[in-house]
Structure formats: structure tokens, C-alpha cells
């Protein structure tokens, strides 16, 4: 159990081991562990950031949805208004058109009536002339009295 040269030899061995650990063992382990710690911390921070971003987005989407709903109802209201307007317009147009057609038809009927009257007048005058001719036969010159007769016919 004597103190001997082993003391110095062991101290040197110890010094070399410490140097080795300080130089080659500790730094890579420390680096790996610290990098991982940082990565985990970053990941957690990113997660909480994402959570808050999600909340903001949810709020935003709710606002947008409400706006869209409001707009949609506005549009529907406008469309309904427009539809009634169109229907009213169409009704008005139809009425006018109907009246126009009616007046046209009336005018046509009047025209037909007049034309028939004209025809009838011509035929009556011809009949009158023919009757008078039969009655008067000789005395009455068709040419000389046709003027008078057509005046008569016009008066009918």
C-alpha cells in the first residue's frame, strides 16, 4: 500500500482521459442534445402559433360566412323585386298589346263593313238601274241617266 510511481502514471492517464472527454466526447453529445432541445422548443412554439392562427382563421371564416349570408339574402330580395317588376311589366305590355290588337281588329271590321256597304251600294244602284231600265226601257238612255242614277245610288 505504498505511494509509488503509479501515482504519477495514473494522474497522467486521468489527465489524458479528461482531455479526451473535453475534446471529443462532450461537445458532440452536447450539440446533439441542445439541437434536439431547440427543435422541440421550436416545434412547440410552432404548434401554439398554429393553434392561435387556427383560432383567427375560424373567426375570420365566421365573419366571412355571415357577410356572404347577408349578401345572398340581399341578392335574393333584389331578384324577387326584379321578378315582380318583370311580371308587372309583362302584364302591362300584354294589356297594351291586347288593346292594340283589339283596335286593329275593330278597324278591320269597320273596313270590312264599309267595303260590304260599298259593294251593296254598287249592287243596289245596278239593281235600281236595271229595274228602272226594265220600267222605262226606251225613254231612258242608260248613258244619259247613269250620272243621275249613280248620284242616287250614292245617296242610298
Amino acid at each position: 500500500m505504498n505511494i509509488n510511481f503509479t501515482l504519477i502514471a495514473q494522474a497522467i492517464a486521468f489527465a489524458v482521459l479528461i482531455w479526451f472527454t473535453v475534446k471529443f466526447v462532450w461537445p458532440p453529445l452536447l450539440k446533439a442534445i441542445e439541437t434536439r432541445q431547440k427543435e422541440i422548443a421550436d416545434g412547440l412554439a410552432a404548434a401554439s402559433e398554429g393553434r392561435s392562427a387556427l383560432e383567427v382563421a375560424a373567426k375570420k371564416s365566421e365573419v366571412t360566412l355571415n357577410e356572404a349570408k347577408q349578401k345572398a339574402s340581399e341578392i335574393v330580395g333584389q331578384a324577387e323585386k326584379r321578378a315582380t317588376q318583370i311580371v308587372e311589366e309583362a302584364k302591362g305590355n300584354a294589356k297594351v298589346e291586347g288593346e292594340r290588337i283589339l283596335t286593329g281588329a275593330k278597324a278591320e271590321i269597320d273596313q270590312e263593313v264599309n267595303r260590304a256597304k260599298e259593294g251593296l251600294r254598287a249592287q243596289v244602284s245596278a239593281l235600281a238601274v236595271a229595274g228602272a231600265e226594265k220600267i222605262l226601257r226606251k225613254e231612258i238612255d242608260a248613258k244619259a241617266h247613269s250620272e243621275m242614277l249613280s248620284k242616287l245610288a250614292a245617296e242610298l
Binding site: M1, N2, I3, N4, F5, T6, L7, I8, A9, Q10, A11, A13, F14, A15, L17, I18, F20, T21, V22, F24, V25, W26, P27, P28, L29, L30, K31, A32, I33, T35, R36, E39
Partner: protein
């Protein structure tokens, strides 16, 4: 075996407690315990090499099982150092603590090797008549470690406070020192005259501290490991007395081995903690 059986108990114990010592120069100091040196160097290279092998391919991603295990040890040591030393621990003190812990643990663990089995089947066939497996049961090993820590302690003390600060502390701590003041009474004059005596007291205190630190540091480890080894030898002696002795010797040997796991780990831990505490104290000013 034939020669072993003729040994008396004291010869048996002496045989197992003799170092493989060879002279490297003249005088009783110039002897080298080859067993302590070779065992400790092999263990140091093995343990730190293993850690280095894991550390050099350490990834910050998902660690392998080996890396996780090394990180467990790393974290354990780092946590202890962090609680004691509040400076830049990564540049020296924490790696030193790791070295001390693992190396001492490995050297202590050699106590689990059964002495006679190792002797008959490993050392004797290699031609080694005397070979002690446990480097920490050699006072030279523990004292070398404690002395190295002691020098580091003085080095860091001077580095932290400067040479002047360190010398100042030797004379002014822990009781404080003489200050010049204008005495107002006879008692004041007496105080002024006697106050330099504080230097003597302070210096004596510091010397005691500086001497006791490496002694308690090294002897605690040495004593524990040496005692553990002797108890194994005593149980071995009992085992040689016959069937009953062999039976109880085996049972008690197993029991002592299991209990010794605690001592081996605890002493390595204590040695590391004291190293860290001494080095941390060197950084503090008083």
C-alpha cells in the same frame, strides 16, 4: 490448486492483495503497479471509447437506443453539475465530471470479478503471479485522481481570482483580516496590535482545508473499495473450509456482491460530486 491449498489464510489474503509491482528506477518510490495502471487504462479506453463511439455519430433527431442510454448518463451528470456550478460548465467541469464518474464506476465494478476464478483462469495462465483487478483499491489510483483534482482546484482558483486574489484569500478567509483603523481606546490599540494574528489563523485553516480535501477525497474511495475486496477474500477463505463454508460463502458472496453494486455506484457518484464541488468552490470568492 495444490499450491493454493497449502496457503495459510494470511498468505491467501496477502497473495491477493499484492500488486504486480515492478521497479522503474531506484528507490522505493520508483515502483510501478502494472496491474492498476493497465487495468485502469484499459477500462478508461473502453468506457470513454464506447461513449465517444456513440457521441461521434450522435444525431439531434430520434436517437438510437445506445445514444439514448449515453444521453441518459450525460443528462444525469450535467444535471448534477448544473446544480452545483453556475458558470460555463460545458467547457471543462461537466466533461471532467463525466470522465470521473464513468471511469471510477468502471474501475470499482472490477470488484465483481471473482478473485480466485480470475486468478486461476486468466491471470495465472498469462504468467501473472500477482494481479489485482480493482484499480480503485490501490491508494495510488485514488490519490492520483484526488491530487489531479486538487491541482485543478488551485488552477481554477487562481484563474478565477488571479494569483493575488488567491493569496489574499489564503490569509483573509474565513475570519477576515487586519484593517488599519484609528483606535479610540486602549482596547482598540490592543485589537490593532493583535489583528495580524488573524492572518495566522486564516492561513492555518486554509492549509488544513487544502490538505484534508485530497485526503478525504481519495481515502473514502480507496477505503470502500479495499474493504469490499477484503470481505470478498474473507468469504473466499470461508469457502475453502469445506462444504458448509462453500455453501454459506457462496450465498454471502452473492449477497455482498449485490450490496456492493450500491457501493460501487455510490462511491463513483460521491467521487464525482466531490470533484465538482471542489472545482465549483474554487470559482467562488470569499
Amino acid at each position: 490448486m495444490a499450491t493454493e491449498q497449502t496457503l495459510t489464510p494470511s498468505e491467501y489474503i496477502t497473495h491477493h492483495l499484492t500488486f504486480n509491482s515492478k521497479p522503474v528506477g531506484d528507490g522505493s518510490f520508483w515502483m510501478l503497479n502494472y496491474d492498476s495502471l493497465i487495468m485502469s487504462v484499459i477500462l478508461g479506453v473502453l468506457v470513454m471509447g464506447l461513449i465517444w463511439w456513440v457521441a461521434r455519430s450522435a444525431t439531434s433527431g430520434v436517437p438510437s437506443k445506445g445514444q439514448a442510454f449515453v444521453e441518459l448518463i450525460f443528462g444525469f451528470v450535467d444535471e448534477q453539475v448544473k446544480n452545483i456550478f453556475h458558470g460555463d460548465r460545458h467547457s471543462f467541469i461537466a466533461p471532467t465530471a463525466l470522465t470521473v464518474f464513468l471511469w471510477v464506476l468502471a474501475m470499482n465494478a472490477m470488484d465483481f470479478l471473482p478473485v480466485d476464478v480470475m486468478h486461476h483462469f486468466v491471470y495465472a495462465p498469462l504468467g501473472l503471479e500477482h494481479w489485482r483487478s480493482v484499480p480503485t483499491s490501490d491508494i495510488n489510483t485514488t490519490f492520483a485522481l484526488a491530487l489531479a483534482v486538487w491541482f485543478l482546484m488551485i488552477f481554477f482558483s487562481i484563474k478565477a481570482k488571479g494569483l493575488g486574489g488567491w493569496v489574499h484569500e489564503l490569509f483573509y478567509a474565513p475570519f477576515g483580516g487586519a484593517k488599519f483603523f484609528k483606535p479610540k481606546s486602549a482596547l482598540g490599540y490592543l485589537g490593532l496590535l493583535l489583528s495580524p494574528l488573524l492572518f495566522v489563523a486564516n492561513f492555518a485553516f486554509n492549509m488544513i482545508e487544502y490538505i484534508s480535501k485530497p485526503l478525504s477525497h481519495s481515502l473514502r474511495l480507496f477505503g470502500n473499495m479495499y474493504a469490499g475486496e477484503v470481505i470478498f477474500l474473507l468469504l473466499g477463505l470461508w469457502a475453502a473450509t469445506g462444504l458448509t463454508g462453500a455453501f454459506f460463502g457462496a450465498i454471502l458472496g452473492a449477497g455482498w456482491s449485490i450490496f456492493h453494486i450500491l457501493i460501487v455506484a455510490l462511491q463513483a457518484f460521491i467521487f464525482m460530486m466531490l470533484t465538482v464541488v471542489y472545482l465549483a468552490m474554487a470559482h467562488e470568492s470569499h
